[in-house]
């Protein structure tokens, strides 16, 4: 009980792992492309949480200016924005052709 | 009793905001004060807007409900509360219900960091201005969900247009804000700051309001922000998404009664919020006019008289209009009401002239006076400018304000580099 009441780095890592799992399940099982893209955002957020949690752990060892994890988390957020924009652009282009948003109907190259 | 007085004294003597000092009781008191103050301000804005617009259009505005229509907002509020609560049949009930709350939440949470004085803020976050920009961008989500949840094409188009406009002008706002943050780093201490109280203290330390700094860069930055903030709050002349003649009231078409009044409350609170950002960043926040040029105890005393004199002047205006009311038995109650209101104003003015009270009230008064000037400007724009067409609106946002904002930023950085 005391281990649960005292929040250590491990708590944040477990939370990040749980979010990552939820995102992976969403990517692998949903049919709607938009929800798959949103699950990818969940995965990226879980990674960010890990980075920032480790940055705080690193600060405890190397002093208050060791903020490398936070800087990298900002880069990941930038990446996520770029990827969401391009992904949704591709989605709109595909939707214009085939009038569907389901992943398993994207089968024009199937033999 | 002694304990209470000691507690109040100990708070008034501190030099930190309650949030930073960790003082739960005073932080809660401030939250309640901000809540009540905002509601009173929105009610007053309702009456002021109708009266001032009417006088600009050479008519009288509401005159019947109370003396000179002073009770009109109360009548409006009662009407809105008693109206039937309609939900369109195919609308998504949960999202329809949540949407006004998101907008009100975003509009009210911004006030956590608004500095009414050096210690008169709920808290002073180190990322104050970043927090304000971020939370005010959350209101876009409420508008988009409101338009979608109504399940009807006018609200959907209105919501998409409104959110496209808000997102575009947020970029211009951000650039103008960044140029001000650059100016705060030219302090004698050498470090810039993102906290709202820090920005006003930087203006005090550098001796100029940032609107006059590096003339004309501060002025252009202020203009960019002033235009962007009008577009951000969907007010005239950028109110195409909610104009009645174009889109039948846009994203809040299907909302009636209390839900519509929540949107209304959120819109006016957002107006006051972005005006406080403009006042804090460019116009010196709570500082009285000429804080460094006209220094000394006599000038301090002179400027400390202003709160009391303002209320006495308003009371005198009310007495004058009470004396001009028609002398007919039907108007007796209204005349008595207006005279009572005038007496209250004169009493507040007399209390504010008392030196210990005016010293405490000084900062809040100057801040509120500057924000009130911005509110008057908002109403003036509504009465004067014709509406922008949507493509003209987007053109102004992206092709005019964004390059100008970038130029101001680069020139401010260059000027700051040479000053150092």
């Amino acid at each position: 009980m005391d281990a649960m009441l005292h929040i250590s780095t491990l708590h944040y890592l477990v939370l990040g792992a749980a979010l990552f799992l939820l995102g992976v399940i969403g990517v692998l099982t949903r049919r709607n492309i938009v929800i798959v893209l949103m699950s990818i955002e969940l995965i990226l957020n879980a990674v960010n949480l890990n980075l920032v949690a480790f940055s705080r752990y690193w600060q405890g060892i190397h002093g208050a200016t060791a903020l490398h994890g936070q800087v990298f988390a900002i880069f990941v957020i930038t990446d996520a924005a770029a990827e969401a924009a391009v992904g949704l652009g591709i989605l709109i282009a595909f939707f214009r052709n085939k009038e569907t948003v389901n992943v398993d109907e994207v089968n024009l190259l199937k033999w | 009793m002694r304990v209470i007085i000691d507690y109040i004294q100990s708070y008034l003597g501190s030099d930190q905001t309650p949030g930073v000092a960790g003082n739960w009781f005073w932080a809660t008191v401030y939250v309640l004060l901000v809540f009540v103050g905002l509601s009173v301000a929105v009610i007053a804005m309702n009456w002021l807007e109708r009266k001032i617009l009417a006088h600009m259009q050479v008519r009288l505005g509401p005159m019947r409900v109370g003396p000179h229509g002073l009770l009109q907002p109360i009548a409006d509020a009662l009407k809105l509360l008693l109206k039937e609560d309609l939900i369109p049949s195919e609308a998504d009930k949960t999202v329809f219900w949540i949407a006004p709350f998101i907008v009100v939440l975003a509009a009210f949470t911004v006030f956590v960091v608004v500095p009414f004085g050096p210690t008169h803020a709920i808290t002073d976050m180190n990322i104050g201005i970043l927090f304000m920009l971020g939370v005010s961008s959350l209101s876009v989500l409420g508008i988009v969900t409101a338009g979608w949840a109504s399940n009807s094409h006018y609200p959907l188009i209105g919501a998409l247009r409104s959110s496209a406009q808000m997102v575009s002008y947020e970029v211009a706002m951000g650039l103008a804000v960044v140029s001000v943050i650059l100016m705060t780093s030219l302090n004698p201490t050498g470090t810039g700051t993102l906290s709202m109280i820090g920005i006003v203290r930087a203006q005090q330390a550098q001796g100029t309001w940032f609107i006059f700094k590096f003339f004309p860069l501060g002025l252009i930055g202020f203009f960019i922000f002033a235009v962007a903030m009008v577009a951000e709050t969907n007010r005239a002349p950028f109110d195409l998404p909610e104009a009645e003649s174009e889109l039948t009231a846009g994203f809040h078409t299907e909302y009636s009664g209390f839900r519509w009044s929540l949107f209304f409350l959120a819109e006016y609170s957002a107006m006051i919020a972005v005006s406080s950002i403009a006042v804090t960043l460019w116009l010196g926040g709570w500082l009285r006019p000429f804080p460094n040029a006209l220094q000394g105890a006599r000038w301090d005393f002179f400027f400390a008289l202003f709160p009391g004199i303002t209320f006495l002047f308003l009371g005198a205006l009310a007495i004058f209009s009470a004396s001009r009311m028609p002398k007919h038995p039907y108007f007796r109650i209204q005349t008595l009401g207006l005279a009572g209101f005038a007496a209250v104003l004169v009493l507040i003015g007399a209390v504010l002239l008392y030196p210990p009270v005016s010293r405490v009230v000084q900062d809040v008064f100057w801040f509120s006076a500057k924000v009130a000037a911005f509110m008057y400007l908002y109403i003036w724009y509504r009465g004067t400018f014709p509406r922008y067409r949507f493509d003209q609106l987007m053109k102004v946002g992206w092709k005019v304000l964004l390059p100008t904002g970038l130029a101001v930023l680069i020139l401010t950085a260059t000027a700051g580099f040479f000053v150092r």
């Binding site: 990552f20 995102g23 099982t29 940055s55 | 999202v95």
Partner: protein, 173 residues
């Protein structure tokens, strides 16, 4: 200011995030999923504040919740068709998907139970005032700016993404 009631806030925010995540992957209506994701992102900003990262929390609110999610909502509303809500929601390989996620979960549990002793408490509290300046030092500092090159590449990446999104969504190129 000393931290207050840390376990309570951590569990509250963690529960909000997990519930938001579960709602994202299970709702039929894409707009409900988007709203649940917004809640999860805001809770994540709160957790960043608990980890003494106020600048990253501010960036998360502005960019993620106020920018990327608006983009998602726009696209959902522009291409929303009601018949997607009545179709089958989970694809045919859902069993394999859940088995994979289960294997991954087992891996995580194994790693974290074995490595439980590696992460000490971190009871220290850091001053809020230096955070933005520290991040700026790492990005732009003259002698400490290790991430300047990555910053420039990130801006190039955003330019490429803008061009890509515009080209992808045009009707006629």
């Amino acid at each position: 200011m000393a931290p207050v009631a840390t376990p309570f806030f951590f569990y509250l925010l963690a529960a909000t995030m997990i519930i938001g995540g579960v709602l994202v992957i299970t709702r039929k209506n894409a707009v409900h999923s988007a709203l649940a994701l917004i809640t999860a992102l805001l809770a994540q900003a709160g957790i960043y504040l608990m980890l003494y990262a106020p600048f990253v929390a501010g960036v998360q609110i502005i960019l993620y919740a106020g920018g990327i999610m608006v983009l998602f909502l726009f696209v959902i509303m522009l291409i929303s068709i009601e018949r997607t809500e009545k179709e089958r929601q989970f694809n045919k390989q859902w069993l394999v998907g859940i088995a994979t996620a289960g294997a991954l979960g087992g891996l995580f549990i194994a790693v974290y139970t074995k490595g439980k002793s590696l992460f000490p408490e971190g009871r220290l509290s850091y001053p809020e005032s230096g955070n933005t300046q520290g991040v700026a030092d790492l990005l732009y500092g003259q002698h400490t700016g290790t991430y300047m090159f990555s910053f420039e590449i990130a801006s190039l990446l955003l330019l490429v993404a803008i061009i890509g999104a515009v080209v992808m969504a045009k009707k006629r190129i």
